[in-house]
């Protein structure tokens, strides 16, 4: 069995410094165990038979030939699901294995375990499914009149937000219709894991995930087991970006392991991965902005339709975000936003970095540019004039109580001097290695965009994280089920413990459901705050206990004691002890950390539904070969509201990486879906930016205003970079071409045939 422990001892910097990642060295030498690297000497390989239709009734599934394939140990179908037949993040509406119907292309129908991947493949080919093919429901705009895709109906959620005086009309109005295509998270590490059955009927599941306890609970229900009978341990995660918040192969692995009595490993192929996880919701959006002649926004109207695909996943929370943040980080006294997420036979959609805010940012920023044009105003000045400040109301009627340095974010980014020179090497021109353009074919464009999003879970969700700290021999041991997915929480956890306890050595135990409660999801930019907060509090309690113990033992005042350089010292002098020798007994504390409670939205979409917000701005410079419709993003400049920088290097990494995903959505990334079928489920045809597509990211400013309630004042930083980057790049292409370009990704044909000829 591969050693899954990520325990690592380091001596390294504290809060605000570039602490090295504890998993850095294992990752650079190839020794870090990702979920696809798991191995067990007795293991079998699992595989999944997927629907080849986006909508069909299953008349029968014949597994008789498959079972007889040499090396096959199990072939299981819907009837074999031992417990609850359905799972789901918010609503349990998605079958573990399709029974009577399939609702999207790629939906799992049967699973196989065999002693070699080749035997798995042969068995899967031998399964005969008799489908009665149905006409798929694929148009999200007309879905509400269509046949129900699912017993729960075709409307997953509608929010009709009304804010302020509904009779307001602006002197100047601009209107537009916008579209965002389906984006894939395209993490590199494919879905994979291993289930190991135990003699007592319990199961150990090692899997790459974002939320261990949610997975555990869903798996236990589907397996008909008590939750403690399923022990879920985080296996190395090769990126997530939202795509690992839902279950994928989890229950399948457990079913096969229990059925065969053997460990079972499964690794999705890239094509399967495209079918095996949720995507970013495609969006169709209509907007009308109203402003006074001086540029003051007075009202925003919008209709938003998100295509949720066949199952609910986190769609209802995504549409809440899209609706609440539909107008962007601006003061808007009156609004009517009709947001709906619907069900179709398209691939299921759910969480992806930015979670509903990305789609509306593309639209509201296009509207702000359009409004600036109608007013004859500078687009940055218009944004500054309407920028939210603390104390302002959001569209939900909620007053911003925390920090909101929107104007600072705008100014620092817009004022940053551009650095991009004109391309010299043909490789730097649009078209790159293809040498399609000469400098005279290229038009440069520049534009600015602003975005924001909530941090942490909203709408009354009981959002918490549990962590414990144990101090013994001068070493702190931290336990948390927070999923490290690449973002660097493991680094921060150590920094926090060092900072609070003054220790140098911090051991982080593997994230597991055994022995600790939920840390919640690694999503919603929440773990630095939530699990960071839990660790900070747990360490704080240990520190207090230690100092009280020493005070009592040595007759000094606990308030007079400080921890410095690995020693506990009395400020008044006269007492000093090595941390490692300060106690003979370990000191422990366990904490459940919660953020301030939120409330559900009312029938008008009003309410204190959110905790805190992060703001970001991007300025994009692009070179466009207008005649061929090819784009090279030349420079991205960004400023972001971060609360406080806990680790500068990791902060830069989040800002650069998030921006790259935004660039991808702006110019190349689209899951092409036709009649419910994905036409490009591969990295050959689903294009993500290469190093030659991604420009350098200039960080103009990290705005540090400590956020009340957040540990060390730090806001989550993961999502904001992917919100305004797409909008800025698209706007820069508009600036270069003079075209409307109401859709992302901007395809060559959108530039070459703007009328939609082909």
């Amino acid at each position: 069995m591969t050693d899954l422990a990520t325990s690592e001892r380091t001596v390294a910097p504290r809060i605000g410094e570039n602490a090295p990642r504890p998993d850095g060295v294992p990752k650079v030498v190839g020794a870090f165990a990702f979920s696809s690297d798991l191995h067990h000497d007795r293991m079998l390989w699992g595989g999944t038979l997927r629907s080849t239709h986006s909508s069909a009734r299953i008349r029968s599934v014949d597994v008789s030939t498959a079972v007889a394939v040499t090396g096959v140990h199990a072939v299981l179908v819907s009837d074999d699901v031992p417990g609850q037949k359905v799972f789901g993040l918010e609503y349990r509406d998605q079958p573990v294995l399709a029974g009577d119907v399939v609702r999207y292309e790629g939906e799992p129908v049967a699973i196989v375990a065999a002693d070699h991947p080749e035997a798995v493949r042969m068995a899967l080919e031998a399964i005969v499914v008799d489908y009665e093919v149905l006409v798929p429901v694929v148009d999200p705009m007309t879905v509400e009149e269509a046949e129900p895709v699912h017993p729960d109906g075709n409307l997953v959620r509608r929010i009709h937000l009304r804010h302020g005086n509904q009779d307001v009309v602006g002197d100047v109005q601009v209107e537009g219709t916008y579209e965002v295509a389906m984006q894939d998270q395209a993490f590199l590490g494919p879905e994979s894991g291993m289930a190991v059955p135990a003699d007592d009927g319990s199961i150990d599941l090692y899997v790459a995930t974002q939320w261990l306890h949610s997975d555990r609970d869903q798996v236990a229900d589907c397996m008909g087991l008590d939750p403690e009978k399923v022990r879920l341990t985080l296996a190395g995660v090769g990126g997530a970006f939202g795509a690992r918040e839902d279950l994928s192969l989890h229950v399948h692995l457990c079913m096969l392991a229990r059925h065969t009595g053997r460990p079972v490993k499964m690794v999705y192929s890239r094509e399967e991965s495209f079918h095996g996880h949720v995507h970013r919701h495609p969006a169709q959006m209509w907007y009308r902005h109203h402003a006074d002649r001086d540029g003051t926004l007075v009202r925003v109207e919008a209709h938003l339709i998100l295509d949720g695909g066949a199952y609910a996943s986190s769609s209802s929370a995504v549409i809440a975000n899209a609706t609440c943040f539909a107008a962007g980080p601006y003061r808007v006294p009156s609004a009517e936003i009709d947001g709906a997420v619907v069900r179709t036979n398209n691939p299921p959609c759910g969480a992806m970095r930015g979670f509903g805010a990305v789609q509306v940012c593309f639209a509201h920023e296009a509207q702000m540019d359009r409004l600036a044009g109608a007013l004859g105003m500078d687009p940055v000045a218009l944004r500054l004039q309407n920028a939210l400040v603390p104390g302002d109301e959001l569209l939900t009627g909620q007053t911003i109580k925390g920090t909101a340095p929107v104007a600072e974010v705008i100014r620092t980014c817009a004022d940053h001097p551009p650095g991009a020179s004109m391309a010299v090497d043909p490789l730097e021109l649009p078209g790159g290695a293809g040498r399609t353009a000469d400098p005279e074919h290229v038009v440069r464009g520049e534009a600015f965009a602003l975005g924001f999003k909530n941090l942490l879970f909203s709408e009354g969700f009981d959002d918490f994280s549990e962590a414990s700290c144990r101090l013994a021999g001068g070493v702190a041991t931290i336990t948390s089920a927070c999923a490290e997915v690449g973002q660097g929480f493991v680094t921060l956890a150590q920094q926090i413990a060092r900072e609070v306890l003054g220790v140098d050595e911090v051991v982080l135990l593997p994230a597991s459901t055994a022995g600790i409660g939920s840390a919640g999801s690694t999503s919603a930019s929440r773990q630095t705050w939530m699990s960071g907060g839990a660790i900070q509090e747990a360490c704080g309690q240990v520190r207090a206990q230690l100092l009280e113990h020493l005070a009592a033992e040595h007759g000094v005042d606990a308030d007079d004691l400080v921890i410095a350089d690995g020693r506990v010292v009395s400020m008044a002098g006269g007492f000093e002890v090595d941390l490692a020798k300060a106690t003979t007994e370990p000191i422990e504390a366990s904490v459940v950390f919660r953020h301030v409670p939120t409330l559900p939205l009312d029938e008008n979409g009003q309410g204190n539904a959110h905790v805190s917000f992060a703001f970001s701005a991007h300025r994009a410079i692009v070179d466009v070969d207008v005649e061929l419709g090819l784009v090279k993003v030349v420079e991205l400049t960004t400023s972001q509201d971060v609360g406080r920088v806990l680790n500068p290097l990791q902060t830069v990494g989040q800002l650069e990486g998030g921006a790259a995903q935004g660039v991808g959505l702006a110019v190349m990334e689209e899951v092409l879906v036709q009649e419910g079928r994905i036409r490009n489920p591969s990295f050959t045809d689903y294009l993500v930016p290469t190093a030659l597509d991604m420009p350098p990211v200039e960080i103009a400013a990290l705005i540090e205003q400590a956020e009340p309630g957040a540990p060390f004042g730090a806001k989550g930083i993961g999502e904001a970079p992917s919100i305004s980057s797409t909008a800025a790049v698209a706007a820069a292409i508009r600036n270069a071409t003079g075209l409307d370009l109401p859709r992302v990704p901007v395809r060559p044909t959108d530039i070459v045939f703007p009328g939609g000829t082909a």
């Binding site: 990702f34 192929s269 290469t690």
Partner: protein
């Protein structure tokens, strides 16, 4: 059915591969049979570069090498780049420059960059970007990766 046993020279050691499937890629053999899982499996169609290894000193996607045809070639994987002497300059630079996030693309990138610095010890940024254009990274946006290459170059580049 399976192939006749064959021998692969990986990281300076001979490994016998018995009962491989006829179509098995070098990547699968390295990962599943030789238990060298450092080379990664993100696409298995030569688009991501996560499986990059050196074959007789040249970078290739091991997923596109038919394992049984690699007999007699010197194969170097990420596991062969550090060894007893600690981290290579490139590996150390990845740690120091913050080029590692999820780490899935990291082994392939390190093999590609090591090869680049062997032939071009002080590459321009454009040369770096072209050299790693066959290594997709979804976490970093490449900024810290390019930094790491420059850092490694200043510390002595490909000469470990």
């Amino acid at each position: 059915m399976s192939t006749d046993p064959f021998i692969l020279e990986v990281n300076g050691q001979s490994h016998e591969v018995a009962d491989a499937h006829p179509g098995e890629s070098l990547l699968r053999v390295l990962r599943e049979r030789l238990r060298l899982p450092g080379s990664k499996n993100a696409c298995e169609e030569g688009e991501c570069g996560s499986c990059t290894v050196l074959l007789d000193g040249q970078t290739v996607c091991s997923c596109l090498v038919l394992a049984s045809t690699a007999v007699g070639r010197q194969i170097t994987t990420i596991e062969g780049l550090s060894g007893d002497g600690g981290l290579s300059h490139v590996q150390q630079a990845f740690v120091d420059a913050g080029a590692v996030q999820c780490g899935f693309c990291t082994p392939g990138l390190i093999v590609s960059i090591g090869s680049l610095l062997e032939s071009d010890p002080d590459p321009s940024e454009l040369a770096v970007r072209e050299a790693i254009s066959g290594n997709l990274c979804r976490c970093t946006g490449y900024g810290r990766v390019v930094e790491a290459v420059h850092l490694a170059a200043t510390r002595g580049g490909g000469s470990k």
